[in-house]
């Protein structure tokens, strides 16, 4: 059981690492902002941020200075990742909205403000979920993921209609749905984990139901993000053939 619980974490780590690096390489080629933001978001919150936080615990008692340095880098990565996702949601879904712009900018101020607070007042030591800067940062992290999931789901409902008329690629349409599921699983999993920490005091890697919940949400997020951005050939064939069947059924 103990080993199995890590499957979700490992799957999420590997998928987020692969997708994040691929998207950043894409950004280097296209020089476009959305892929840069998506790459920073996926890598920052996932493998670099969360991964480093988990890895750092090995050094908590043996090498406290290394532990603190790793936590500082991890918190910086999470803040950058969450800010990148806020900006992604603004720039991609509502580029002309002053409200979305204000939300993204305020979130950025909040994220980096809480990072400075954690450095000045706690020296980046083990984040207590009840500590204000930690709670605030986690809430913003959850917020950027759930906002992104909602936008992506709403856009998918439009894309479905376009696919029926041959106005959109069914694989791209499915990418919106998978990203919505992946971002929701990551955001909701983080929220459940946070509440679990507040109630039980156990962290996401201390074992118990909080860890099982976080790992399961991580597994769902990993599968959905993989299907969105690195779908296997059989899955792409399935999506295309299903769309063709639906179109044939509609025109019959």
């Amino acid at each position: 059981m103990g080993g199995l619980v890590w499957v979700g974490f490992i799957a999420f780590f590997v998928v987020a690492l692969v997708v994040g690096v691929r998207v950043l390489l894409l950004a280097r080629r296209t020089r476009e902002l959305p892929e840069l933001l998506m790459g920073i978001g996926v890598l920052g919150i996932g493998p670099v941020g969360f991964g480093l936080m988990v890895f750092a615990r090995q050094f908590e008692t043996t090498r406290p200075a290394v532990y603190t340095a790793m936590l500082a880098v991890a918190l910086f990565a999470v803040s950058c990742g969450a800010f990148a996702k806020f900006v992604f949601n603004w720039r991609v879904y509502h580029p002309d909205s002053q409200v979305a712009r204000a939300i993204a900018l305020l979130a950025g101020i909040g994220l980096f403000g809480s990072l400075v607070y954690a450095g000045l007042y706690h020296g980046f030591q083990a984040p207590d979920p009840l500590e204000p800067s930690s709670l605030f940062r986690s809430s913003l992290q959850i917020g950027c993921l759930l906002w992104g999931a909602t936008e992506s789901f709403a856009y998918w409902t439009k894309m479905r209609l376009r696919v029926r008329l041959g106005l959109a690629d069914p694989v791209v349409s499915n990418r919106f749905l998978m990203w919505a599921i992946g971002a929701f699983a990551a955001g909701w999993g983080t929220a459940v984990g946070l509440v679990g920490q507040l109630v039980s005091g156990a962290t996401t890697t201390d074992g118990g139901w909080v860890m099982v919940s976080s790992s399961l949400h991580g597994l769902v997020a990993a599968i959905a993000i993989a299907l969105a951005f690195i779908p296997p050939a059989f899955y792409v064939r399935y999506i295309r053939s299903r769309a063709e069947r639906n179109a044939a059924h509609a025109s019959a």
């Binding site: 998207v23 894409l26 990418r175 919106f176």
Partner: protein
Amino acid sequence: MADAPAFDWMCSRLEQDTSLDRLEARGTVRLALKSAGLDARSVTPDQLKVVIDKVLEAELTARGIADAGSLCAGFVTALASEGQQLAMAGGSETPDAVFSRLGGGS
């Protein structure tokens, strides 16, 4: 954000060629776009052509417009000649264009 030139063009043509007034024409086109999953602010001439072909005729018929089929055929022909001028110049990139690229990988 302003409505797309293709949307404004379609509304003007409906006003000119049917008994619909400005408000009715714009509402009809908005409904047709909505049922196709499109938006008045970002619709392109190519997308509009499909909407005219597959959605608008039924919307016009439902509003009692006579001979909606040949009317729509006329819109498609006119759009083919004016489409290039109506193409959005420098508009914001749509989310589907972004997500299409994001699947490209390295």
